[in-house]
Symmetry: C2
Subunit: 188 residues, 2 copies
Amino acid sequence: MAAPADNLYLALVHYPVMNRKNMEIGSALTNMDLHDIARACRTFGVRGYYVVTPFEDQVELADQIIRHWTHGKGGELNPSRKEALEMIRVTRTFEQALEEIEKKDNREVVTIATSARDSGDCITPRELKTRLKNNASHVLAFGTAWGLTEGFIDSCNLRLAPINGPGAYNHLSVRSAASIYLDRITND
Amino acid sequence: MAAPADNLYLALVHYPVMNRKNMEIGSALTNMDLHDIARACRTFGVRGYYVVTPFEDQVELADQIIRHWTHGKGGELNPSRKEALEMIRVTRTFEQALEEIEKKDNREVVTIATSARDSGDCITPRELKTRLKNNASHVLAFGTAWGLTEGFIDSCNLRLAPINGPGAYNHLSVRSAASIYLDRITND
């Protein structure tokens, strides 16, 4: 039986992230990231989903997509998609998302970075599940493109262990990774 | 530690599936389904990924996408994407996929349907993991659009239990569902 993750938030970060040449960039919005991750958040009882982008045109694009599915024709045709996309909040920075959560919940906010790169200093999804029983809000941050920068990861309170298969290949989409982590964190 | 799923195949079915009015249809190809599910299959050590569509223009579209990433510019720029997309085979029917697998592996092929709808007669991912130790090939079938028809599901040997969260909402994308099932089936 799954436990609701009602003190867990998810943030999808478009800056600062890496490109395939290991350079720090700001990435473009991907429509499917909004849909797939919102649907997974809604399924697993996550409290809210923040889409973080500093670019004004991308903020406007995200708002247009969300409006179409929450107030437009999309939501009328597909109410379950409406239920998912109305969880999304768009902020210019990660800090702005944290401020909103802190203001809303009025308690400590713990930040957890995700990465496909291994590191000695990670907690497991099972450990995070136990930590969620604490009286704090938690934000799980995902990087788009080639992932969050090490600087961003270091600035978070915790780092989650990567999802591995039997081999060395670990190039999951951010949509797959977010879905798998939410399943692991909320289900037994 | 994850076990390689080297006698497990995945099939993404575009016909026969349901639309939101519960009518049987053939659905259109979604580019992201090819990428995300191939990347998850490659990560979790799945043996092969079949994309099933009866429509000639969709077969051609799938072939073009796969060629771009396996023989074209895409694969040069992104070798890990090449490694994922070269796992894909396109067939006109599910039966054709089964015939290919049977011919290649020269042993029994067990078919397992997935669905977001609950049913009394399901096996769990854990039970499927145990079954994978048998000397048989297994094909896990996913429906696009609103999912596989009950007729298709009934024609399969087994049916996998749906992925549920704490509430009634269970509208995961097929990309999320495939990723979560593969994680559950291969990881402890």
